[in-house]
């Protein structure tokens, strides 16, 4: 708790700072060395073709993988020096494949998000209960409280995991392809939920996304990775250009404005 930074600093200190952060497995180098920083209270989209290192990067940000080179700081402190509890109170992470939660109800799973606050032996206080209720309400799950998680649909289950992350009450959300198992309607619903929550709670978020149009629709800042290097970065308008996308995906791409909103939409030529 001592490492918590008071609210005046939150808007200025970057969430993450990477200096030449690299990762290699055996003889294969996945990320040669990335240098970038990630600002708080904004939504960052990680995009790029398969094998570009998006998932590896987000796993390192979540401290699930240790970088094999470079320096990775979270809130101005080396990520390794955070103790597990403090880190889990600051960063919530949803893996690409969420595990089956056999025999657990929605409320029980979401309540696990309070673990970093009460620990292995601490009491589950009224404040914990309040946070769980808030998370359920914010994700529209209030009516699902006592349902079994493994009987829910894919979209609902994804919302439950998001609710668990909210109950964790962190300043940063990391989502690894949160929409990969969902149909178009649920993808849009999930992502707009992430955007709304990030805005209303002032959360920073890093989201790995496959669909460049989805990324452009919800993100403030897009990081385009290719072969483990940051190829382009900027606001959606700056990335959604045929030249940039062609270089990113190695494919001729075109752009046209959305008939309703005028947002740029990418398509394969």
């Amino acid at each position: 708790m001592t490492s918590r930074i008071d609210s005046a600093d939150v808007s200025t200190v970057p969430l993450y700072e990477l200096e030449g952060v690299g990762f290699s497995a055996g003889s294969r180098t996945i990320l040669p060395g990335l240098t970038l920083s990630i600002a708080p209270a904004r939504i960052h989209g990680l995009v790029g073709p398969n094998g570009s290192g998006k998932s590896t990067l987000i796993r390192m940000l979540a401290r699930q993988l240790d970088p094999t080179g470079g320096r990775l700081c979270f809130m101005g402190q080396d990520i390794r020096s955070w103790n597990p509890g403090d880190f889990a109170r600051s960063v919530a992470y949803m893996p690409q494949f969420t595990p089956p939660a056999e025999g657990m109800t929605v409320t029980e799973l979401v309540a696990l998000g309070r673990f970093p606050w009460h620990g292995a032996l601490g009491r589950f206080t009224a404040r914990d209960r309040l946070k769980v209720d808030e998370a359920l309400a914010d994700t529209g799950l209030a009516g699902f409280r006592d349902r079994l998680v493994d009987r829910l649909s894919g979209g609902e289950r994804q919302r439950v995991w998001l609710a668990m992350m909210l109950a964790q009450d962190t300043r940063c959300l990391l989502l690894d392809e949160p929409t990969s198992a969902l149909d178009v309607a649920h993808q849009a619903e999930m992502l707009s939920l992430v955007r709304r929550l990030s805005r209303s709670r002032g959360l920073g978020a890093v989201v790995v996304l496959h669909d460049i149009n989805m990324a452009a629709a919800i993100c403030d800042d897009i990081l385009a990775l290719r072969d483990g290097a940051l190829m382009a970065r900027g606001a959606p308008e700056a990335i959604m250009k045929s030249a940039v996308l062609e270089e990113l995906y190695g494919l001729r791409m075109g752009i046209f404005p959305h008939p309703g909103t005028g947002r740029p939409i990418a398509y394969v030529e």
Binding site: Q64, Q96, P99
Partner: protein, 680 residues
């Protein structure tokens, strides 16, 4: 999950590297060298025999020649053909069941054949005289048929098949051991035979196995194309126009025939059927055709080499260590070393969960019901019994008399059952794997190896030393197992494969020791069967105190136990100290298992069954599930204890064995019942 995937990917790339580097001439060189080594050992044995002064003089010369032509040569030949036969049988079974763990011994085929032969030896010796092989084949086919029937509805899903196979194997082994124990000393030779002795008097076994091998090889060669297609999934095979079921049954029947012939001729030889195809694969035999050549060859070399080593260490005065036990000694470590390096990508996923019951609304009420049931069981066990003149209800003075005798029994049974169930629950939650249990992971037999060591090293060790030794054995095995499994994020495949290897390895040590027939051997045999005949009040007190002390920390770990089944990634994301919590829980599970195993032996299945039952009746949350498992474990063990005293009155069956005989079939049935009432 993602962690497991990552591990998988790393393992894959590692295996790719390994395979690439071996695709050159190296495997040929390696196995060629192994074959040369085996041949050299054999040559040394022949030279040793020819230079033996005992056979130098004229009258003994003929005997020397007879030993050479009817003993040594056939022995080498039988090792070669048996190894090849088992390698081929293993390859065929793995292929048609699409199951990397399938082989004659994990599927219970060998144990089924062994049980049939043990039963026939006792009940119908005439049958054995007519056709040993027929009896063995009947047993093997029986086991295979049982497993297939039970798992057919689940589409022969690999995890169910292996579990049903292991249950069948362990239950059959338990039954064979019971038969041996019940029939006294003269069955001891059967135990040695059970370990797979390659000693030969003529060429009969060699020709019998060789002809079967030739026939099955020819059949398999004819079926090469359909077999290649069967490696895909069923839907794909069907759409390619293959009669999947007929084909599968045919190949299984062939493999069983081959394997039970080997069992009938030389006894149970584990591991070769598992190791040979795996080694062939690792050696770079990619196509089915290449593997069909490589697996039998590697099997033959493995067994010949092992047998050469056995003969070398035994000298000329006849060995007592069965070769079948020794193959596990060589093959077990090999498999454990290979495990993290095996490529799993083409293997079917074993992640499917087992049937779980509908979740109970009022778990604590259920727990209360179990408490009452346990108390009733204890009361029945203490009061009711069979006397010389039928059933009696003990009261008054008789009750007081019997209490001093019955109470320690019940106490030990209840405490051990509770501890095993607790350990099983811990392991299942830590690994997120419904199959993890002290029995399946070889922890119980590990305790046995520790016990063996101390029995040999210390004269008349006290119970404290025995406990320390078996506890360290159990914890070492457990840590080793989980270290291997952790490399792949606790993937069920590796954990199971490792458990099979470890269990076979430890049992091999025990079998080898028991086969020496010393004082310690009898003590160990009694321990394996889990006999509490000598239960004294002090022991009961000790068991009870140990159970209380070791189970007391469990409630404080319930939050960990809630999160850990979700996997290491989620646990880490929530700030659970993954390594530390794993270490603590695993150490506790090891201690619980070792303590219980000290009293009731390694095979009981209570550690697997009790948590299953608790889940099945709807205890899903850690705390009620914990309480339910422990109580069910205690109750089941008390039931086994009471029944083991009543069933064959006035004789008393060993408790651990009886619990296994009670639990094994139940679990097999449970598997066969499918996933009625499951969530998805």
């Amino acid at each position: 999950m993602a962690d497991a995937l990552m591990g998988e990917r790393l393992a894959e790339s590692l295996a790719e590297n390994l395979a690439r580097e071996r695709r050159s001439a190296r495997p040929w060189l390696f196995w060629g060298a192994m074959a040369l080594l085996a041949a050299a050992l054999f040559a040394a044995r022949i030279v040793l025999h020819l230079s033996d002064p005992a056979f130098a003089a004229p009258p003994m010369q003929d005997i020397g020649r007879v030993i050479l032509t009817h003993g040594l040569f056939p022995r080498a030949a039988v090792a070669l053909v048996s190894g090849a036969a088992l390698g081929l049988a293993g390859l065929l079974l793995q292929r048609v069941l699409r199951n990397p763990l399938a082989e004659p011994s994990t599927l219970g085929i060998a144990a089924g054949a062994q049980l049939a032969m043990a039963a026939a030896t006792i009940a119908a010796p005439g049958l054995m005289a007519i056709s040993r092989e027929g009896v063995a084949l009947a047993g093997g086919l029986g086991a295979a048929a049982l497993i297939l029937t039970l798992t057919w509805r689940r589409g022969l899903e690999p995890v169910s098949v292996v579990l049903a196979g292991m249950m069948t194997a362990l239950t059959a082994t338990a039954a064979s051991t019971a038969l041996i124990l019940a029939n006294g000393d003269y069955m001891f030779s059967l135990f040695i035979w059970g370990g797979g002795s390659l000693t030969q008097q003529d060429w009969g076994a060699t020709t019998a196995i060789a002809t079967r091998l030739v026939i099955v090889t020819a059949a398999a060669a004819l079926l090469l194309r359909p077999l290649a297609i069967l490696g895909l999934d069923d839907a794909a095979s069907r759409s390619l126009g293959l009669a999947v079921d007929t084909m599968r049954l045919m190949v299984i029947a062939l493999a069983v025939w081959l394997a039970s012939t080997v069992t009938a001729q030389v006894g149970v030889i584990g591991f070769v059927g598992l190791a040979a195809p795996t080694l062939a694969h690792l050696g770079g035999a990619r196509t089915l055709r290449a593997r069909m050549v490589a697996a039998p060859l590697i099997g033959a070399i493995l067994l010949w080499l092992t047998d050469g080593c056995i003969q070398l260490t035994a000298g000329s005065n006849g060995e007592r260590i069965p070769t079948g036990a020794a193959t596990a000694l060589l093959g077990g470590p090999l498999l454990l070393w290979l495990l993290p390096r095996i490529r799993m990508a083409e293997w079917p996923s074993l992640h499917a969960a087992l049937a779980a019951g509908a979740r109970s609304e009022r778990p604590w009420r259920l727990v209360a019901v179990i408490v009452v049931a346990c108390l009733c069981m204890a009361a029945v066990g203490l009061v009711a019994g069979r006397g010389p003149d039928g059933w009696t209800i003990a009261t008054g003075a008789l009750f007081a008399d019997l209490l001093t005798w019955r109470a320690p029994h019940m106490g030990i049974a209840a405490a051990s059952g509770a501890m095993l169930a607790g350990a099983g629950m811990l392991l299942q939650r830590v690994t997120g794997n419904p199959l993890a249990s002290p029995e399946i992971l070889g922890v119980g037999t590990g305790a046995g190896v520790g016990l063996t060591a101390v029995l040999y090293l210390v004269d008349d060790p006290g119970i404290g030393i025995q406990f320390a030794a078996s506890a360290s054995g159990a914890v070492i095995v457990l840590v080793l197992m989980l270290a291997i499994a952790a490399r792949s994020g606790f993937g069920p495949e590796r954990l199971l494969l490792g458990g099979v290897a470890m269990g076979a390895l430890c049992s091999a040590v025990l079998t080898a020791v028991i086969a020496t027939g010393g004082v310690q051997a009898l003590a160990l045999l009694r321990w394996i069967s889990g006999s509490v005949n000598m239960a004294a009040p002090e022991q009961a007190l000790l068991a009870g105190l140990a159970a209380l002390a070791l189970l007391a920390p469990l409630p404080f770990m319930s939050r960990w136990l809630d999160i850990l089944p979700l996997g290491a990634v989620t646990a880490r994301a929530l700030g659970v100290p993954v390594r530390r919590s794993h270490a603590a829980l695993i150490a506790l599970a090891g201690l619980l298992t070792a303590t219980a195993a000290l009293f009731v032996g390694p095979l009981s299945f209570i550690g697997l069954i009790a948590p299953h039952l608790a889940r099945l009746i709807g205890l899903a949350r850690p705390l009620p599930c914990m309480a339910g498992s422990v109580l069910i474990g205690a109750g089941l063990m008390m039931l086994s204890d009471w029944l083991s005293r009543m069933v064959a009155f006035p004789y008393q069956l060993p408790l651990g064995l009886f619990a296994a005989l009670l639990g094994g079939p139940y679990l097999i049935w449970l598997l066969g019942r499918g996933r009625a009432g499951a969530g998805r």
